[in-house]
């Protein structure tokens, strides 16, 4: 009875002592020390458990239950406290680790770099025409007089040559007259002729036999400079050659293109007969727009804005490219890339396109991953 009472007393004392120690433990190290002193190999509870061996078998069961009860109780108590202390330690650490999240981060490079509107618009044009089965053709900026004028049916001395305000190159050792191309039309000749069969330069597109469907964007030059004219600008031309294409289809292509490009449901075009040496019949095209406000609205309003020139490829041009005009026919058109970019995106000074003013590029430029596609939309 004494022994039992004594065990009970010991348990009670231990419970009280450990309880007090747990309560006193102020940090994770202290509670660990309490755990070791109670439940470690040499701990007080472990020591009491070790006395079980000396207890009479008939009493061992109840004594074991009592001591194990104490152990369970003490373990739980210590774990609870340890958990509590770990949490407050973590809280303290996290509190110390607080930073000012309002500090600005370094801008992502993709947030800084911008694509020039001319490149973006060329990609937009490419996206639309690729859906209609066109490819891109290109040619050199320094062209021979033959490619730029003669092959395109500009008679020598004709006033139409003068309308072009041509930049002439200084004489070259080979004696060939060269100019800075005044339009991208020489690429039409390069495409129809076999000059690109073994590409002399890698960017020249290989020759295509009819049916031909190409668009030709690029830099062009005219000796002219004011707010709406710069000595260098960009043009895109299109060419369709087969055995049946006519003006009805030309109208369709242009209407579909302009609708898609300006991202409007409808455009109204006005076709006016005009004159270009390299097309017959020739037309200029005006697009209906509203210019009453600060922004030009395409597809509504009462104004007309001249936007492109077009026509059926002149029989002489076809002949110059070795195509029989009684067999082959087709149409071509051309427009200013900078001009349609200005119309769509609202820039008003062409000269700024070529000034590389960072403020202008950042404002009118496009994000590098704003890829114009038909499936994702031309502009975001």
């Amino acid at each position: 009875m004494d022994r039992i009472m004594s065990l009970d007393a010991q348990i009670a004392t231990l419970r009280a002592d450990i309880g007090a120690a747990v309560a006193a433990a102020g940090d994770e190290a202290a509670i660990e020390a309490v755990r070791v002193s109670a439940l470690g190999k040499k701990g007080s509870v472990s020591a009491l458990l070790a006395t079980l061996g000396g207890i009479a078998p008939e009493e061992r069961k109840s004594a074991g239950a009592a001591i194990n009860g104490l152990k369970t109780e003490v373990t739980a108590l210590i774990e609870a406290k340890a958990g509590e202390l770990a949490k407050s330690a973590l809280d303290a650490r996290l509190a110390a680790e607080r930073v000012d999240v309002t500090l600005p981060v370094r801008p992502a490079p993709t947030a800084e770099g911008r694509i020039h509107p001319v490149s973006q618009v060329i990609d937009e044009i490419t996206a639309i025409f690729s859906d209609m089965g066109f490819s891109i053709a290109e040619g050199p900026d320094i062209e021979t007089d033959w490619y730029n004028f003669t092959a395109l049916n500009f008679p020598e001395g004709h006033p139409a040559r003068e309308m072009h305000d041509t930049f002439f190159m200084a004489p070259a050792p080979d004696g060939v007259k060269r100019v800075l191309r005044t339009h991208t039309s020489p690429v039409q000749i390069r495409t129809m002729l076999n000059t690109n069969e073994k590409p002399a330069a890698p960017y020249l597109t290989p020759t295509i036999d009819p049916p031909i469907r190409v668009v030709m964007p690029g830099r062009t030059y005219r000796h002219d400079s004011d707010q709406t004219h710069t000595p260098m600008f960009h043009q895109v031309e299109g060419l369709v050659i087969d055995k049946s294409s006519h003006i009805g289809q030309l109208r369709w292509v242009l209407e579909e293109f302009l609708k898609a490009f300006f991202e409007v449901d409808d455009v109204t075009l006005r076709f006016r007969p005009s004159f270009f040496p390299f097309t017959e019949p020739s037309m200029e095209v005006d697009v209906q727009c509203d210019r009453s406000g600060p922004e030009v609205k395409i597809g509504e309003g009462n104004d007309w804005l001249e936007i492109l020139g077009c026509g059926m490829v002149h029989p002489n041009v076809l002949r110059n490219c070795g195509l029989d005009p009684d067999v082959y026919q087709g149409f071509a058109w051309g427009m200013g890339i900078d001009r349609i970019a200005m119309l769509k995106y609202g820039m008003n000074d062409l000269r700024a396109f070529f000034d590389a003013d960072k403020r202008w590029l950042d404002h009118y430029g496009f994000r590098p991953l704003d890829l114009p596609t038909l499936f994702g939309g031309l502009s975001s």
């Binding site: 993709t110 694509i115 025409f129 690729s130 190159m169 200084a170 009805g248 109208r251 005009s274 590389a356």
Partner: protein, 802 residues
């Protein structure tokens, strides 16, 4: 070309309004630039009665007037005109009226020296009707008070300005415009009487001989002249003066005004000589080289032997088809006139026009081809106008030379209209349209013989006739027709190189660079410094003296852009451009390059070092190459700088020993100075055309991926090497130590300074070993490590740091 609505209606019987005429003109290819009613701005001016005019109490030259402008109340007006007087009729402008001749708008309730003035009595100059500003307009006593002055004076005369394409010489006269509108159906053309007028005897000046040697450029085809004796010249009648003024011409005297009337009205330029100033027999000949000509525009031109002149014993009287001379110019005192109506070679007129730079109404028309059927009739028309307005006697016309009539006949299949335009038009309609335009059709069936009228030399072939039909039907009436698809799913549109350029652009922008587009032409000095300056790459006629050479490199343009931005206060810049550079005038010498620059560097709390370096440029070029499927570490890298870069901080990328594809580096201080920029600037240039296309493979399948189950392990080494040993040499040696096991070698540290001897550097490399068969034993790892140390030591002469 400008003309008034009244003028048009003199040749076209129509009730169409200016707006309807304008619409029709644009539809048929005579594009309307502008329709202006100059009277519109004068609409507020009204006829007024000066009920009373008495001297201003506080002025010795002003009058105080009581004016009745038909408003029901009498208006007080202070007027400074000397002719203001009681009872007169004049023109009154109420407050709020814009006064064109003074360029201001009248205010209400003005007080002039203490007297109220509510409006203004106006002079003709204030209405911009003439230069007469000596007094206010005086109107007859019966002028109805309150009537708008434009109505009273019949000033409503709309001016239509059209632009004429170079092929439409026939529309450079009002008559020709009327003819086109009549064919379109807007009215009926009124014919002009050009029948011969009887002469009063033989011409005192015989026919002008054409004195040309064989092979000389003879611009004259046919010269028709008529001598007018004893005329009475002077200012032309008001209607003619008004008409010329309305289209921007200054009336000179009746004879000169008649030549302008015929030129603008019928597109038939004339020239009048004061016959008494002609010395000897005038002839047609080429000009002598350097021969001086004192032209009517008060400039002296040096002529040459490509130009045709009408000359007398004393030299040129007129530069044929271009402009007359001062010496024989017709003045108000002229009594005898030689009137010229001549036919010229359009190409030679254009050439002379270009060579002299003279822009004249005659040249404008003659270089666009004037109807050869109008040479003598034009002279008869002039005769009628002369006799009517200046009197005198018309002598017998003198004619020399022959006109050229193309007499074109086109074999025209009517189906051509449908083939080229898609327009469904009946044979009857096509015939009717072409007939109205003056074409004569012969034959039946599909193909007709079409005779082209003399005024349409631009029509030479089937397509031209198809255009004429479409023009009259209206292009807007051509039905649209979808272009059939060639493929149901669009095929690839861009070549590899085109796509590369697009990818390069997006890659550089994604690395934070802004895309610039700069001029293709740059100053000669810059071109020279960047490897250009070849004589054949110069422009013969640059737009500005500093933009003379086609660029050999994109960098000068970018550096100039950097300078502009820096001058505006924006010195943190990252710019790139992708475009053509010009190494020769041949297509293969015009190559597409990508180039970029970085300068400045934004101050940021996270930034370690704000300054850019050669490695930024190398990283840009490496990123570009990667975007095109090339690893810069597998290309040949030569530590030699481009001429524009810092000699010790630049390199070039090569494909093999000879083909250089790119350069990178920090811009040379002397370049910085030339562009007035502060460095460092990191720059690169890459020849996109030189990068080979990837090999075409039969499938798009990628090589099989072999993954090891075994962990890779890393070993670090630090070598002490000479300062000028290239890191690439260390890496190459380490990689070669065991090609099977070593999969990667990287540099994790480069150090010079404390603990490292002078002239040496410490390079730390991390070597990755990837076992393939089994886990490596310590002995095996040691063996590889020793091989690495041996290889690097051998290659560099350095030692392992321990």
């Amino acid at each position: 070309m400008k003309f008034t609505l009244d003028w048009l209606k003199e040749h076209l019987d129509t009730t169409a309004s200016a707006e309807e005429v304008g619409k029709a003109l644009t539809m048929i290819g005579l594009e309307v630039e502008e329709i202006v009613d100059p009277a519109e701005k004068l609409r507020p001016f009204v006829v007024a009665h000066v009920v009373e005019a008495k001297p201003h109490p506080n002025s010795d030259h002003l009058n105080v007037c009581k004016v009745d402008a038909g408003t029901g109340t009498i208006i007080d007006v202070v007027c400074g005109a000397p002719n203001a007087r009681t009872g007169m009729k004049s023109v009154f402008a109420p407050p709020g009226t814009y006064i064109p001749g003074k360029d201001f708008t009248l205010k209400a309730g003005v007080v002039i020296r203490g007297e109220k003035s509510d409006g203004m009595l106006c002079s003709a100059a204030e209405l911009e009707l003439s230069n007469d500003h000596d007094g206010i307009i005086e109107l007859p006593a019966d002028a109805p008070v309150g009537m708008p002055y434009v109505e009273y004076a019949k000033l409503g005369n709309t001016v239509i300005d059209i632009s004429i394409t170079p092929n439409r010489g026939d529309a450079t006269g009002v008559y020709g415009v009327a003819r086109d509108l009549a064919a379109f159906g807007l009215g009926t053309l009124k014919p002009t009487d050009m029948s011969p007028v009887p002469s009063k005897g033989p011409s005192p000046i015989p026919a002008l001989p054409h004195n040309f040697a064989a092979g000389e450029p003879k611009a004259i085809r046919k010269f028709a002249g008529r001598y007018f004796k004893s005329i009475k010249n002077g200012p032309s009648p008001d209607w003619l003066q008004q008409r010329l003024r309305a289209v921007g011409l200054r009336p000179i005297n009746t004879v000169v005004d008649i030549t302008n009337l015929v030129s603008l009205g019928w597109g038939r330029p004339l020239h009048a000589y004061d016959a008494d100033k002609i010395v000897g027999q005038p002839v047609l000949r080429v000009a002598k080289p350097g021969e001086e000509f004192d032209a009517l525009d008060n400039k002296i031109y040096a002529l040459d032997e490509t130009m045709t002149v009408i000359a007398d014993d004393q030299g040129p009287l007129c530069l044929g088809g271009i402009m007359g001379g001062i010496r024989s110019g017709v003045t108000e005192g002229t009594v005898n006139v030689l009137m010229e109506c001549a036919s010229w070679d359009p190409d030679l007129i254009a050439q002379t026009g270009r060579r002299t730079g003279i822009v004249s109404d005659a040249r404008y028309r003659l270089e666009r081809h004037v109807d050869p059927a109008l040479t003598e009739p034009g002279l008869e028309l002039a005769t009628r106008l002369m006799l009517e307005m200046v009197g005198g006697q018309a002598m017998e016309p003198v004619i020399s030379g022959e006109d050229v009539f193309p007499n074109t006949v086109v074999e025209f299949p009517l189906s051509e209209v449908k083939r080229l335009t898609g327009l469904e038009t009946s044979a009857t309609e096509i015939e009717a349209i072409l007939s109205r335009l003056g074409f004569r059709l012969e034959g039946t069936g599909n193909t007709r013989k079409v005779q082209v009228p003399s005024w349409r030399p631009d029509i030479t072939m089937k397509a031209d006739l198809a255009e004429e039909v479409m023009r009259m039907v209206g292009v807007d009436n051509v039905p649209t027709d979808p272009l059939p698809r060639l493929n149901h799913v669009a095929t690839r549109m861009l070549t590899t190189l085109q796509n590369r350029r697009r990818i390069a652009r997006r890659t550089l922008a994604a690395r934070g660079l802004d895309e610039a587009v700069t001029w293709s032409f740059i100053p000669e000095a810059e071109a020279r410094r960047f490897g250009g300056g070849k004589p054949e790459l110069k422009l013969a006629n640059p737009i500005a003296s500093e933009l003379t050479d086609m660029r050999p490199s994109l960098l000068p343009g970018l550096l100039a852009a950097a300078q502009r931005n820096t001058n505006r206060g924006f010195a943190d810049l990252k710019l790139f451009e992708i475009g053509q550079v010009f190494h020769s005038v041949l297509p293969e010498g015009q190559r597409t390059y990508a180039a970029g620059i970085r300068l400045g560097g934004s101050r940021h709390w996270q930034a370690q070092n704000g300054q850019v370096s050669v490695f930024d440029a190398k990283a840009d070029i490496a990123a570009l190459l990667d975007a095109m499927g090339h690893d810069i570490d597998k290309l040949q890298l030569v530590a030699e700088s481009a001429s524009w870069s810092h000699p010790g901080r630049g390199g070039r990328v090569q494909l093999g020993p000879k083909v250089v594809i790119g350069w990178f580096g920090e811009v040379h201080p002397s370049e910085l100075q030339a562009f007035d920029l502060v460095g460092p600037i990191a720059a690169f240039e890459l020849d996109l055309d030189a990068i080979p296309e990837p090999r075409r493979r039969p499938t798009r399948s990628k090589p099989a991926l072999k993954l090891s189950d075994l962990m890779p392990l890393n070993r670090d080494f630090a070598f002490l090497v000479d300062r000028d040993v290239a890191a690439a040499t260390i890496l190459r040696a380490a990689r070669g130590a065991d090609k099977a096991l070593i999969t990667d070698v990287g540099v994790f540290d480069v150090f010079e300074g404390k603990g490292v001897p002078e002239g040496k550097k410490s390079v730390g490399i991390a070597v990755t070993l990837q076992p393939t068969e089994k886990t490596l034993t310590d002995e095996e790892i040691d063996a590889v490590s020793q091989a690495v140390v041996a290889a690097v030591t051998k290659a560099t002469g350095g030692t392992l740091r321990t």
